[in-house]
């Protein structure tokens, strides 16, 4: 931010100092434990994937700003957040060239084409991931087990796949808890889900650290707590109902809450300030919509996980939610 000695503008004159860069830097702090854990759990593969994700997002933003002769907006950290969150949603052994392509798509088609920060109708990180999911469905659903013995000394064979060629996987292992539940009716221990001892996308495994990061942001008033609360409440109520009706067919609420990308999605992706509703009631409705969609996709959809599509769909709906929940202006008489 450029500093001026004399500021001439209308009110407000007192600000909390929380500009885009301050909030975004705090989101980075909140994400750091998750990032550290993913590197601990998946080793070099996580480190390289995250670096490629962040780098591709930063470079795309910088280059596009230069191309359109704007001041570069890399410094406000928002695109770094996009890169980190995008990287955290990827499977650990994804080829790096796919990571790079997804990052370019995320920033260029998810954000910049709509006018940059503040104008993106969807969460850019999820746009990148959705593109990869649709383009390379096999690579995006091949998971490696966490805590592999050689994770700090060697990379998986698939990570360094030559650009545009098909990846070769050295071992097909590590179904995610959701996939194990969906295809084999095999539940995972709740403690493993909480502590992140399972397989999954880089940043989605450890529910405790994600919750901590989210709580930090809520405590600093940098995130609307109504969105995650709305999501969690809906998912708990709906999945508890279905589990009560048929415990053999449907997983219990604790499993639904802590498995897959629900924690990460609810805390860090659904709460994207641009793509979520403005009004408080709207945030509850938005959260409830995401929760309902997640339960529907997980229980009856063809895929084991649906958080990404649920959030993208709710992003598309959020302006309409705001339109229908117009707050009454001060002094308004009906």
């Amino acid at each position: 931010m450029d500093k001026k000695i004399l500021q001439i503008h209308s009110s407000p004159h007192i600000s909390s100092g929380a500009g885009v860069d301050v909030i975004m830097r705090n989101v980075v702090y909140a994400l750091l434990p998750v990032v550290a854990f993913s590197i601990y759990a998946f080793g070099l593969a996580a480190l390289f994937t995250l670096m490629a994700a962040v780098l591709s997002c930063l470079l795309t933003e910088h280059w596009l700003c230069k191309w359109s002769r704007q001041t570069t907006s890399v410094n406000d950290w928002s695109v770094a957040i996009t890169g980190i969150i995008y990287g955290l949603t990827l499977p650990p052994n994804l080829p790096l060239w796919m990571t790079l392509i997804g990052g370019v798509i995320a920033v260029s088609l998810g954000k910049f084409i709509f006018g940059g920060l503040g104008y993106n109708p969807f969460n850019p990180a999820l746009v990148g991931r959705a593109f990869l999911q649709a383009a390379f469905p096999t690579a995006m659903t091949t998971w490696s087990a966490a805590f592999g013995a050689q994770r700090f000394t060697s990379l998986p064979a698939s990570t360094l796949t030559f650009p545009l060629t098909s990846p070769q996987y050295d071992s097909l292992s590590g179904a995610t808890p959701l996939a194990a539940m969906k295809f084999n009716q095999q539940p995972t221990d709740a403690m493993d889900l909480l502590l992140g001892l399972t397989s999954g996308s880089l940043g989605e495994t450890c529910a405790v650290l994600i919750l901590l990061g989210g709580l930090y942001l809520i405590a600093r008033n940098m995130m609307n707590w109504r969105i995650p609360v709305g999501i969690f409440f809906t998912v708990i109520v709906l999945s508890a109902l279905f589990h009560f009706a048929n415990p053999h067919r449907y997983p219990d609420a604790v499993f639904m809450l802590f498995s897959g990308g629900l924690m990460l999605g609810a805390m860090f992706m659904a709460t994207d300030m641009v793509a979520s509703p403005i009004t408080n009631l709207g945030c509850f409705i938005y959260g409830a919509l995401i929760g309902t969609l997640v339960v529907i996709i997980r229980l009856w959809g063809g895929m084991p996980e649906g958080v990404m599509y649920a959030i993208l769909f709710a992003n598309a709906v959020s302006p309409h939610i705001d339109r229908f929940i117009q707050p009454t202006p001060f002094g308004h008489r009906s």
Partner: protein
């Protein structure tokens, strides 16, 4: 009809300008954004795109010729119905021709050959151009729009087939271990590719970024 033969409505010094107009300045897909249904649905391979483009161009040419020739004979009140009848006739002919030439291509295009009838590009040119211009200009217009449409479909088809399948007109051009981009064969990929082509073409038209 109040329009007299030879009266110039679309300004342009030469008749051949009508041809260039359809290919570039008023390209049906990239500029007018007409006929999106075949553009997004059947451009998953370059050959499908080519056949679709040529079939549309043929129908467009014939309908423009007939509409322009009959422009004084058709009463104004029933002109749209008569255009549709003319277009439907040629679409049926094209449908049978494609079936006769290659049943395989006909199957891969599916219902989209019949749907040329409702391609708003053809009806649009009949109403906006052929019914108001003489035969020669109408032919140039149809040729330009037809070529522009075919080229645009090819632009999409080539990219989508190359990334989605690793082939170019069914010839394998990329190494065997190429990883196909499944999204390119789905309609979603068509939206992405179309948007990027439009971006490129708008950029070329402007000759530089806006300030």
């Amino acid at each position: 009809m109040s329009t007299k033969p030879g009266e110039i409505i679309v300004t342009g010094p030469k008749d051949t300008d009508e041809f260039i107009k359809g290919v570039w300045a008023q390209n049906p897909v990239f500029v007018q954004v007409l006929g999106m249904c075949p553009t997004l649905a059947v451009t998953n391979t370059a050959s499908n795109a080519l056949v679709m483009g040529l079939a549309t161009a043929f129908v467009l040419l014939m309908s423009n010729v007939l509409v322009s020739s009959l422009r004084h004979a058709v009463p104004k009140q029933v002109r749209i119905a008569s255009y549709v009848a003319i277009i439907a006739t040629f679409v049926t002919a094209v449908d049978y021709i494609i079936q006769a030439v290659s049943l395989e291509v006909h199957k891969s295009l599916g219902a989209y050959v019949s749907l040329i009838v409702v391609n708003c590009l053809i009806l649009g040119r009949a109403e906006a151009f052929a019914s108001k211009n003489n035969l020669k200009r109408s032919i140039y217009d149809a040729l330009g729009m037809g070529v522009g449409f075919t080229l645009a479909l090819l632009c999409l088809g080539v990219v989508r087939e190359l990334l989605g399948n690793g082939t170019f007109f069914n010839l394998s051009v990329l190494p065997g271990n190429f990883q196909p981009w499944v999204i390119m064969l789905l309609p979603g990929g068509a939206f992405f590719v179309l948007a990027l082509w439009m971006l490129l073409i708008n950029r070329l038209k402007q000759g530089g970024p806006r300030d």
